[in-house]
Subunit: 214 residues, 2 copies
């Protein structure tokens, strides 16, 4: 079912680090990029809204669009990676929600009562929500899927670099999305690490610095 080349969880998660220079001879097939996205969207999301949208940029024309709003600092990844995945949060994901659950009901996975309860409990929360809440929820959902994408890429034998350094105001429009609806979450460069590259492994704060018990 999956085409994982590395199925060792410890190596996938704890061995991940950001790669900024990729092997330019490596081209990931679209079918495999799609598989990695399919792996990623098994992530959970608030009320199962799945408020994520992936634009996989793997053509020279697509990369030219990214060049128009990327920070100079991140151009090496743009130039050398096989693809850049632009991840957007869909603030109107709730509009597809009714059809999703009606489908689950039609497949007899839930009863009519459960269907009604789900639609009557959650849908109004979103239909009546302000832009700030819809944006925050879409960003959290998309980030969960983003993390899974980076791990799935490693399982497929690739490395990644998540990128926040671009002009977020221009991202959606440059890629043909409605900027009122889609909020940029992050870019992820994906490819095979250049074997000559000497990326430093980032230091983390000690766990004691970021945890407390109550």
């Amino acid at each position: 079912m999956t085409n994982f080349k590395n199925n060792d969880f410890e190596s996938v998660m704890l061995g991940r680090h950001s790669v900024r220079k990729f092997d330019t001879s490596v081209k990931i097939p679209r079918e495999e990029l799609k598989e990695m996205v399919a792996n990623a969207i098994t992530a959970p999301s608030a009320c199962n809204l799945q408020a994520w949208h992936f634009i996989v940029v793997d053509t020279p024309e697509g990369k030219d669009k990214l060049r128009s709003f990327f920070m100079k600092f991140n151009l090496p990844q743009l130039e050398t990676s096989s693809a850049i995945v632009m991840l957007f949060g869909d603030t109107l994901a709730f509009k597809k929600y009714r059809a999703l659950w009606e489908n689950i009901y039609e497949q007899k996975q839930i009863s009519k009562e459960e269907l009604d309860r789900i639609l009557n409990t959650f849908l109004p929360l979103y239909e009546n929500a302000d832009k700030q809440l819809l944006t925050a929820d879409a960003m959290v959902d998309s980030s969960l899927a983003a993390m899974q994408f980076m791990l799935a890429a490693r399982a497929h034998g690739y490395d990644t670099n998540p990128i926040a350094g671009y002009d977020a105001k221009k991202a959606a429009t440059a890629l043909g999305l409605d900027p009122e609806r889609y909020v940029p979450v992050m870019a992820i460069a994906v490819g095979k690490a250049d074997s000559q590259s000497t990326d430093i492994k980032s230091t983390r704060y000690s766990v004691d610095d970021v945890i407390e018990f109550q």
Copy 2:
């Protein structure tokens, strides 16, 4: 180094689903919860700011605090899980940033020039940023760590349920954090799934619905 009970990546990631009813006889040792958080914070973060903060609630007194702002719908997880991890974004994480990189420099991992470049490039972006950007960045960072926490929990033999349904305005204050500084991102119930429980496995949209190539 790690105490993973399940190191099969496919089983960890693709086998994860939300568990809403846990085995109340299972109590996860704090040392193991800390290990899971340590695994989780290998996640990447924007500019390595690591803007996450974990409050692990595993006492009756702590759970009483959560009861004061959780939605009724999520009380079964609160009652039955071994712990609830409250994840907050730290909007002032940049205040620790200089010390972190000076430490990396002192360990001779980067040159003085690299240190200066990093501090002069990124720190001003955050020192001059508005609250909205700091909040968004902290939420994205924390969500990446949250996803890794849920996967790490599975590698440790546990299950999770990410929870958005609580009064976000009350969360920080109820747990003794400064609500101006810390933004609530999500709650994650963790424990061993109740063997009698019949949680439905959520349906996802097809990958073709959420991906496009450019």
